[in-house]
């Protein structure tokens, strides 16, 4: 089968390997409605569970009467904390080292909290049952403001923790205090602040929002009484971690649990944590002996499963008169809601917020974060973010703008003179990270040139003149953002979740006829893993991507891994994929050498084959090698061709980018128009440019929503004000801007293929770009800081407060 007419280039193209905009294999199913999402699962005799939820934000539960509910036709069971207590399952551990009520145990701490679980024959009967459960509440004083929660006489929220002065992350200073986390050198930073030419100070609030994937969270639990095996299908971003946690809290041995993540309709961090619905479904399946499905509705989702952000960030930034930054000080009050259920690596209770020195060479810095309980939903998850990186990037990119105002400088220039220089990498940051690689100046220059920055500033100056002369009522803002991400958690030496090391894995089996199957410890939620990871294998081993099946999400078959979030799939599982491929390639080389009757060192890899060095006519294709691996007795070589790699990354990866937004704002209506949005990303080696571009479009649209209108809001009574898509802003195709994407390539030096990951960059980078555009439009009129989201009303109010309404 030696096809001499095929050129090297053609052979390479035929692989559809790395760098090619390969069309997605997933789409053949998805475009036909043949996806298999959790709510599509139907099993014989399957029951449906639904929650009775608290209407109060803070109340004692004085009684629960199930009788009326149980009398409803179709209702099979009603579970309360009392039923779960004998199993020790009325509380569950959170990923943040706290514990959380599965069902209200004597009191509720937020509106929408799970109080009872009704199990019925179908979802209609379950809803009827939910309506009929009678719960008596005695309301308690509510606190939704984290600053008020820390006042001495604030109501005690977590009575279960009363008297506990030590939390999972050190001392607790107050009954509503969770932890203090400090990084950097406080004394040195104070010293810099007190002697600096210029210090700018500002409170930057990143409001509470929600990942809100289109598909909500859900599961189907099925306990097979005969085999004693529990199968749990669910919307899990980390199926293996879920299996281990379920085993630990239920004491079902881990080999008797199979967790399966089927297709997932978007995750964005919402589907990392463990929720009451999972525990209750498992218990209900054990109790009833039938499969039990729980799928939350959109209201449940927005009210109870995993909010994001809610960080009050007080910053001080010091600089010389010329604009060289000398120090950064930051104190954060993090509102965690009723339970600390954020999903951060254990040693990082505020995630990787200490990336908040951003892309700048800041010699001295100090950061402290205080986590606080309030009567709001638990969460604090990484909404398309690598653990509080979005908050950190927003903070520093706002502080740069605030400093530019104070210095009366152009903020593009201020950024340029403070960037970490190319030759400074690997760069040790003042708050403890080692940035792997970067070339910020090149990216920045490219971005500024692409948008013709000078011309934009000239146009803006003219616009201000015209506005002052009464010729227009529209202002123009140029929003700049330069971000550095920290993704790919992470090295097991400092990254674990509940003690589970954050490595990841890939197993590859080459079949005798030269096609292959690969399985990973991650799980796609729209990122196109089945397409992109096959491309890595294709390039590494020389088997066409189209001949490689890729599977994830079934813990019975996939190797152990910590799942997909924090942009970790490409940096960690992508590396494992390359490493497993290389093991196979090494064995293939031995086999090829045997077949060609030369020494191992005398053959070399050539796209899809091994050829004798200096004699490319003599070769064995990977197909031939695979067949021989299984069917030929080769002395000293085991039959078969497969490999597995568990990859513990030596460091995080640090993707970066430059985003610029040009916005028009109507001073009288507060409405905005995004005239241009330019996004340059450097995610190192680019595996599939089409998928990268898609990730940027999607992430930037989430950023647009967050910056310009999306929020989870509560009133003072703790009533959730944004629990439907009517109130919670999700942009339609009408509002969504058009994006111009661009890139530079600075490979990661420690990643086998140099890839850094891109999924979260656009969310991290775009929020400051949008927000800075709004601020920039009003800079000439004295605006320094105004909190997001910049919806029409809030923008109108900025204009009003600045006296622009005459």
């Amino acid at each position: 089968m030696k096809d001499e007419v095929t050129s090297t280039e053609e052979r390479r193209e035929n692989l559809k390997g790395m760098g090619c905009a390969r069309k997605r294999v997933e789409d053949v199913r998805f475009t036909q409605g043949k996806g298999n999402y959790v709510d599509d699962i139907k099993m014989d005799g399957m029951l449906f569970g639904d929650f009775v939820r608290s209407p109060y934000a803070h109340a004692r539960v004085t009684s629960i009467n199930k009788e009326a509910a149980l009398a409803i036709p179709g209702v099979v069971a009603v579970l309360t904390a009392e039923d779960l207590a004998p199993l020790g399952l009325h509380w569950m551990p959170t990923l943040a080292g706290d514990k959380q009520m599965v069902l209200a145990d004597g009191k509720v701490l937020f509106q929408g909290q799970e109080v009872a679980f009704v199990v019925a024959n179908d979802r209609y009967a379950a809803s009827d049952g939910v309506e009929a459960v009678e719960v008596d509440y005695e309301d308690l004083p509510v606190v939704t403001d984290p600053f008020k929660a820390l006042e001495p006489d604030a109501p005690v929220l977590r009575e279960d923790l009363e008297g506990q002065t030590e939390g999972a992350h050190g001392p607790r200073k107050h009954h509503n205090h969770i932890f203090t986390w400090e990084q950097g050198d406080e004394a040195a930073t104070e010293q810099v602040m007190s002697t600096a030419d210029v210090v700018a100070e500002e409170m930057v609030y990143y409001h509470r929002t929600h990942p809100n994937p289109l598909e909500t969270c859900g599961c189907v639990a099925s306990m097979d009484k005969v085999t004693g095996k529990l199968t749990l299908y669910g919307t899990f971003q980390a199926p293996h971690a879920i299996r281990t946690i379920v085993s630990l809290i239920s004491s079902i041995p881990e080999h008797k649990i199979r967790v399966v993540s089927p297709d997932i309709g978007g995750g964005f961090g919402n589907k990392v944590g463990a929720y009451s619905g999972y525990v209750c479904s498992v218990v209900a399946s054990i109790v009833t002996g039938k499969p039990v499905k729980w799928v939350e509705d959109k209201m449940d989702n927005l009210m109870s499963t995993a909010f994001a952000r809610d960080y009050w960030m007080k910053g001080k930034i010091a600089a010389t008169k010329e604009g060289k930054i000398t120090g950064l000080h930051c104190h954060v009050i993090g509102d965690h809601g009723g339970f600390d259920a954020c999903a951060d690596p254990t040693k990082f209770p505020a995630g990787f917020f200490n990336i908040c020195t951003g892309s700048y060479d800041i010699p001295t810095a100090y950061l402290s974060v205080d986590g606080v309980y309030t009567n709001k939903a638990p969460g604090g998850v990484a909404y398309r973010c690598s653990f509080r990186v979005t908050e950190a990037a927003y903070f520093i990119e706002r502080m740069i703008e605030v400093l530019a105002i104070k210095l009366d400088m152009d903020s593009a220039e201020l950024r340029r003179i403070n960037f970490i220089k190319k030759e400074q990498f690997p760069y040790q940051s003042a708050l403890g990270w080692e940035y792997d690689s970067g070339d910020y100046h090149t990216a920045w220059d490219k971005a500024l040139e692409a948008v013709d920055y000078k011309a934009l500033r000239a146009e803006q100056a003219q616009r201000i003149e015209d506005f002052k002369a009464g010729k227009t009522r529209k202002l123009m803002g140029v929003g700049l953002s330069f971000f550095t991400e920290i993704v790919g958690a992470g090295p097991v030496k400092n990254c674990d979740i509940l003690g589970l090391g954050m490595f990841d894995s890939c197993e590859i089996r080459i079949h005798p006829t030269g096609s292959a199957i690969a399985r990973l410890g991650t799980i796609s939620q729209g990122q196109g893993h089945a397409t992109a990871f096959a491309q890595i294998i294709a390039s590494e081993i020389g088997i066409p991507a189209d001949d490689i099946t890729l599977e994830e999400g079934d813990t019975d078959t996939a190797p152990y891994g910590l799942g997909t979030y924090g942009s970790r799939s490409m940096p960690v599982a992508g590396a494992a994929t390359a490493m497993a491929s290389r093991k196979i390639k090494a064995k293939a080389q031995m086999i090829a050498a045997y077949l060609l009757e030369v020494h191992d060192d005398d053959v070399e890899f050539d796209v899809d084959r091994f050829a004798v060095k200096g004699n490319p006519e003599r070769f064995k294709t990977m197909k031939e090698i695979a067949f021989a691996a299984y069917n030929q007795a080769i002395p000293g070589v085991e039959p078969g061709l497969e490999a597995v790699s568990y990859y513990d990354p030596p460091n995080m990866t640090y993707p970066f980018g430059a985003y610029i937004c040009v916005m028009e704002l109507d001073v009288d209506t507060g409405e905005h128009e995004i005239r241009k949005f330019y996004a340059l990303d450097d995610c190192g080696t680019r595996v599939n440019p089409m998928i990268i571009e898609g990730q940027v479009h999607g992430g930037a649209t989430e950023g647009y929503a967050i910056a310009m209108g999306q929020e989870i809001a509560y009133d003072e009574m703790g009533n959730h004000k944004t629990a439907t898509l009517m109130d919670f802003f999700v942009p339609t195709a009408m509002e969504t801007p058009t994006y111009q994407t661009d890139f530079t390539v600075t490979p990661s030096p420690h990643h086998p293929i140099g890839a850094k990951g891109v999924g979260e960059s656009p969310n991290v980078g775009s929020v400051p770009a949008f927000s800075n555009a709004v601020h920039d439009a009003f800079r000439a009129f004295g605006l320094v800081q105004s909190h997001m989201p910049h919806d029409h009303w809030r923008v109108w109010r900025i204009a009003d407060e600045l006296g622009l309404h005459g």
Partner: protein
């Protein structure tokens, strides 16, 4: 609750069954008929994941009682693939232009686009954006969906011309 008899045409075939009067069309399709292409995103008429085509109009099937579909002609994503099982032009263009990621909005989106391109055979970008505004997508930022729809319109028009 007593059940009523419903009967309608689904993807060209007669279907019938018993349902409580309060049963929503989306639930009847998904649970009773196992037509799981149309998805549930919100059940409050906001997201469009449940979009089906009913008597020549796009409807959100979470906002229609199955009783209202009695006698109607309903098409879901399952009915939009070519008869020979290959992807339709619209489906193919979504794939070609990366108009989907997680795929959750996709069946509703494509079903909507199928109708939109009959309402507007040669739409402008503005028409497309307006025409799909009832369908939310959390993954794509719509840019590639718009591209896919415009490309599909071109191809369908070219096919029509060739046939004439």
């Amino acid at each position: 609750m007593s059940k009523m008899h419903v009967k309608f045409t689904l993807n060209g075939e007669e279907v019938e069954g018993l349902a409580e009067p309060r049963t929503l069309l989306i639930h009847f399709l998904r649970e009773n008929l196992r037509i799981t292409g149309p998805h549930i995103g919100c059940e409050t008429s906001h997201c469009g994941a449940c979009t089906v085509d009913m008597d020549g109009k796009s409807v959100k099937s979470c906002t229609v009682f199955v009783a209202q579909a009695n006698g109607a002609d309903v098409t879901t994503i399952e009915g939009l693939t070519n008869p020979d099982g290959t992807l339709s032009v619209i489906q193919e263009m979504f794939r070609e232009h990366h108009g989907l990621q997680c795929g959750y909005c996709t069946p509703g989106m494509i079903t909507r686009v199928h109708r939109l391109l009959q309402e507007h055979p040669s739409p402008t970008e503005e028409d497309v954006r307006f025409g799909i505004a009832g369908n939310l997508c959390r993954c794509t930022g719509y840019q590639n969906i718009v591209k896919a729809v415009l490309a599909a319109a071109d191809q369908l028009n070219a096919q029509k011309e060739a046939a004439e």
